[in-house]
Structures are given as C-alpha cells and as structure tokens.
Symmetry: C2
Subunit: 164 residues, 2 copies
C-alpha cells in the first residue's frame, strides 16, 4: 500500500503503469483524506471520482454524467457539478480550463501549485507542481505591482508517448 506522504502519480503514465493499482491507491487516499478532514466521501462522490480515474485522462462533465447514469438513473447536471465542486474543493481533482474538463489529482493531500501539461494528440495530462515556476510567476507579477494569489498554468504540447 502506498505511503500517505508520497505523491501517487506524477508525470505521464509509461508502459509499466498499472492503472488498476493506481486507481485503487488514489481512491484509498481520497477516502482517508476526507475522513481525516471530517468530510464525507459518500457513494456518489466515490462513484464520480472512480469515473474520473477510469481513464487517467481529463473528462468532460457531460461525459461523466452519461457514464454516471449507468449506475444512477436519475443523475442530472447538478448531480455532477456539485460533486465536481466538492472534489475540487478537497483537492482531489483539477479543472482543465483550456478543455472545460476535469482530471484527477495525482498528489491529493499535498498542497501544490498546479501546472498541467496537456498533450494535444492523446489528451493525456501530467502535473508539474513546480514551486520554482510558481515563485518566478509570483515574483514577475509582483514587479508589476500585482499581488498574485493563484494561477492557471496549462502547457499545450506533445507527450512522450505521442512524440515517439
């Protein structure tokens, strides 16, 4: 079982990536995190997070809705969006602004700057979570008199799998 203090998934999943294991680890961590914060990791929330991790790729809200309906007939847009809001709040997923989509966080529980690498071939996403980038951005913003709170950073390009 994965340590609670180590990132679970970083970088692009290679050929050796066992996504079944990855998925279970991330769900177990989510459960533990919610418990420790006194939040409820309900059946619905688990179902949605499972669906998001089904493919290790960003998922759109309505795609999620469609798949959720297999398990929950009455699901409607608010069902999904409310749950996404919860998962975002708890840092279990990230929103990809440039795709209007949502992706599982590979390192939930650790506060980290979010910089996403989005492959324009296969749509795979990896997280940089780089403090140096965050610091530089904050510094440069500060030089313009701007007090930076947070940042949306999404790099578009080609992932290792697709470039080979």
């Amino acid at each position: 079982m994965a340590s609670a203090n180590r990132p679970l998934v970083t970088g692009f999943p290679g050929s050796d990536h066992d996504h079944g294991v990855c998925r279970e680890a991330v769900l177990a961590r989510a459960d533990a995190l919610c418990r420790s914060r006194g939040m409820r990791f309900t059946r619905l929330r688990r179902q949605v997070l499972e669906l998001i991790w089904d493919e290790h790729r960003p998922v759109k809200a309505y795609e999620l809705l469609e798949r959720l309906r297999a398990e929950r007939a009455g699901a409607a847009p608010p069902t999904v969006y409310r749950t996404l809001d919860f998962l975002l709040q708890e840092g279990l997923i990230h929103r990809v602004e440039s795709l209007n989509a949502y992706v599982g966080c590979g390192d939930p529980g650790h506060l980290h700057p979010v910089q996403l690498l989005v492959c324009r071939c296969c749509a795979a996403v990896a997280e940089l979570a780089d403090d140096e980038v965050a610091r530089l951005l904050r510094h440069k913003a500060g030089r313009m008199g701007f007090q930076a709170d947070s940042a949306v950073v999404e790099v578009e390009g080609v992932c290792p799998q697709c470039s080979s």
Copy 2:
C-alpha cells in the same frame, strides 16, 4: 503618434492613463498590421475591436454581441465569434480562459508569450509577456519528456489600484 516598434500598453493603466489616446493608437496599429499582412480590417472587425477596447478590460462574447447590436441590428453569435477568431488569429486580442472573456492585446505585432494578470476585484488585466517564464516552463516540461508548444498562463490576484 506611437512608434510601430514599441509596445503600446503594458502593465495596469495608472491614473495618468489617457484611454482615448490608448484606444486610437491600438486601432491604428491594428489597421496597419492587417494591411501589412494582406488581411482586411473590415468595418465589422474594427467595430468589434473598438468595443473590446472601450473599457480596457476583458469583455464577454455575449456582452459584446449586445453592444454590437446597437450599430448592427442583425448581429448574431457567429458574427461575434468569427470576428473574435480573426482578431485572435492576428494577435490583436487574447482570450482569458479563466473568465471566458476576451481582452485587447497591448502589444500587437510583436510575437510574445502571453501571461495574463487578472485582478479579482476590478477584473483589470495586464500582460507579463515574459520570456523567462516561458523558458522556465518549457524547460521544466521538457524534463518530463513533454514538448511544449504554447501555454495558457493566467495569474489571479489583486492589481495595484485595488490593493491601495
């Protein structure tokens, strides 16, 4: 008249900012740029760019549509979106992903990385256009085997006016 080789608007407009002058300068530059590239800076395209620069702030497409209808009764969503696409293509405006809005480029004609500083109080936007940030991001991405092409960088925080 502004030189064609100098950025027109950088940073947040201060109290000394004469936006009438700013607006005219940016429109004249747009006209010259389109001419030099063999593109047509039509009446519609000028109208839309004027509307975008009316407030030196990001504008939403449907807000733009509403205002455009004062001058062009039959305007519909495609009228606006097509024109926005053109202006984006020519580098005359930038899209703000985190707001679903569009903002005039303060330095059209110079290819530059786009990093936007978005004030969460007054919604004012400034451009960093910082090569060092772009390089660092590209470098860090490269270390994960990712070949970076472009990036969406939007910093949220408080602008100088609002923090004082």
